[in-house]
């Protein structure tokens, strides 16, 4: 996926973060030494100089491994550079900024926007491929291509992309196109299966803060979750058994594990997930960081 697509969505997100939290004085996203997006208040020079200084640090950071996060605390404010989904997000905030609020905004919004942009782009590409494939079997390629573009009613850029995709496909001639077309009936089979099953709601995603879970008798493959969350799942899925949960860290790492209810009443209702060290290592997360948890429906 090209960086231009991310740039538009990320720039809007960065501006919104600053609107929501005026104590964020500057923020920008970079990847491989290049600025991908920056908010209105960040100058090109500031961003470039910061990236150069960051690169100078990472070049010498072999002893630490790949750099995930840098927090520079100064007398008048703070700079944070955090790795998120192959991007580095830089946030500059004043001394008065609410650290937790800024972190929550940045570390939740940016990865979500990156993921969504990726998914939307992939989905639109798939749609374009299907629409373009269908007319090809009717031996009327030119008319069909025009029709497909008109139907989409999207921006000029999207139209250009679809035209480009169509012509690229056309060059490849029949063999690969046919194989894609014949795959369609196979894809229809699972849909028929769904008709027999009762429709289940999408598993709800809950954001929780990681807390350490340790002790001699603590199983290393089980997390502990709030009773309220488990009850909500039970109400949502009725008789369906939920044996496992899918935990996803902010860096995109996902793992499945068993779960139990939080035992201590003082930890209840705090929005935390108690996690053994082994799972934290798998997810490359740690105490105090956010993860999303959703039930795995059997």
């Amino acid at each position: 996926m090209s960086n231009e697509v991310y740039a538009f969505t990320l720039e809007s997100t960065l501006d919104e973060i600053q609107n929501a939290c005026p104590d964020v004085t500057s923020n920008f996203v970079f990847k491989d030494g290049k600025i991908i997006a920056k908010n209105k208040k960040t100058t090109e020079e500031n961003a470039t100089q910061t990236i150069n200084a960051f690169d100078a640090i990472t070049e010498r950071a072999n002893a630490l491994g790949d750099v995930d996060n840098i927090t520079i605390q100064s007398t008048k404010g703070k700079v944070n550079i955090a790795a998120m989904n192959d991007f580095y997000v830089t946030t500059v905030s004043s001394k008065e900024a609410d650290e937790k609020y800024v972190n929550t905004l940045t570390r939740i919004l940016i990865p979500i926007v990156i993921k969504l942009s990726k998914k939307i782009q992939l989905a639109s590409l798939e749609n374009e491929t299907i629409r373009i494939d269908q007319p090809k079997s009717e031996d009327n390629k030119d008319e069909a291509a025009e029709g497909a573009v008109e139907e989409m009613g999207e921006s000029d850029e999207a139209k250009d992309q679809s035209d480009q995709t169509y012509y690229e496909e056309e060059k490849e001639e029949t063999a690969p196109v046919e194989s894609e077309t014949y795959e369609e009936p196979e894809q229809a089979e699972p849909e028929a299966k769904y008709d027999n099953d009762p429709l289940l709601p999408e598993p709800p995603v809950t954001q929780l803060i990681v807390e350490n879970l340790s002790g001699l008798l603590v199983p290393s493959d089980t997390v502990r979750i709030d009773k309220e969350v488990i009850t909500q799942w039970a109400e949502l899925y009725g008789d369906r058994k939920i044996k496992e949960v899918e935990v996803e860290a902010l860096n995109g790492k996902i793992t499945r594990c068993k779960f139990k209810q939080i035992k201590k009443s003082k930890d209840a209702g705090k929005g935390i997930v108690k996690m053994p060290e082994k799972i934290q290592l798998t997810l490359e997360t740690q105490q105090g960081e956010l993860v999303t948890v959703k039930p795995v429906i059997e």
């Binding site: 910061t50 960051f54 010498r60 630490l64 995930d68 520079i72 007398t75 008048k76 934290q280």
Partner: protein
């Protein structure tokens, strides 16, 4: 009695700048206090080592002494580049820097002219260490 007279004759006058002497004494005291604190922190589990240096002295204690040069260059680069970044956004002098890698992390700070870098494993409690070392 004769001996006492001789010693008095050999004395030479030395001019002492009281402010400078007091500053040096304070600097040495801060450095000593910090090295004592660092020695305690070094014993904590997960702490890989530390480097402390000021204009006149330096002390290094690392788990892997063969990586001394690597750590020293990194520590210096981190402090200089962090200050550059801070200057870019007009945030003033840096008080501390925390850098987290996939395996280890480092906490750097500047306390009264003493540049300190503490290296630790990823799961070590950096907040607690910062609290301990801060004046």
């Amino acid at each position: 009695m004769v001996k006492k007279k001789q010693s008095q004759e050999n004395l030479t006058a030395i001019t002492v700048d009281a402010d400078e002497l007091s500053a040096n004494l304070k600097e040495n005291k801060t450095y000593k206090d910090l090295t004592d604190k660092l020695a305690k922190i070094r014993k904590k589990s997960g702490v890989v080592g530390y480097i402390i240096r000021n204009a006149t002295s330096a002390a290094i204690d690392l788990k892997e002494p063969e990586k001394l040069v690597e750590y020293a260059i990194f520590s210096s680069k981190l402090q200089d580049s962090s200050q550059e970044i801070s200057d870019q956004f007009k945030l003033g002098d840096i008080t501390n820097v925390l850098i987290e890698g996939k395996q280890n992390k480092a906490l750097c700070m500047n306390i009264e002219g003493n540049k300190i870098s503490i290296f630790m494993e990823r799961d070590a409690d950096d907040a607690d260490i910062l609290k301990q070392i801060s004046p």
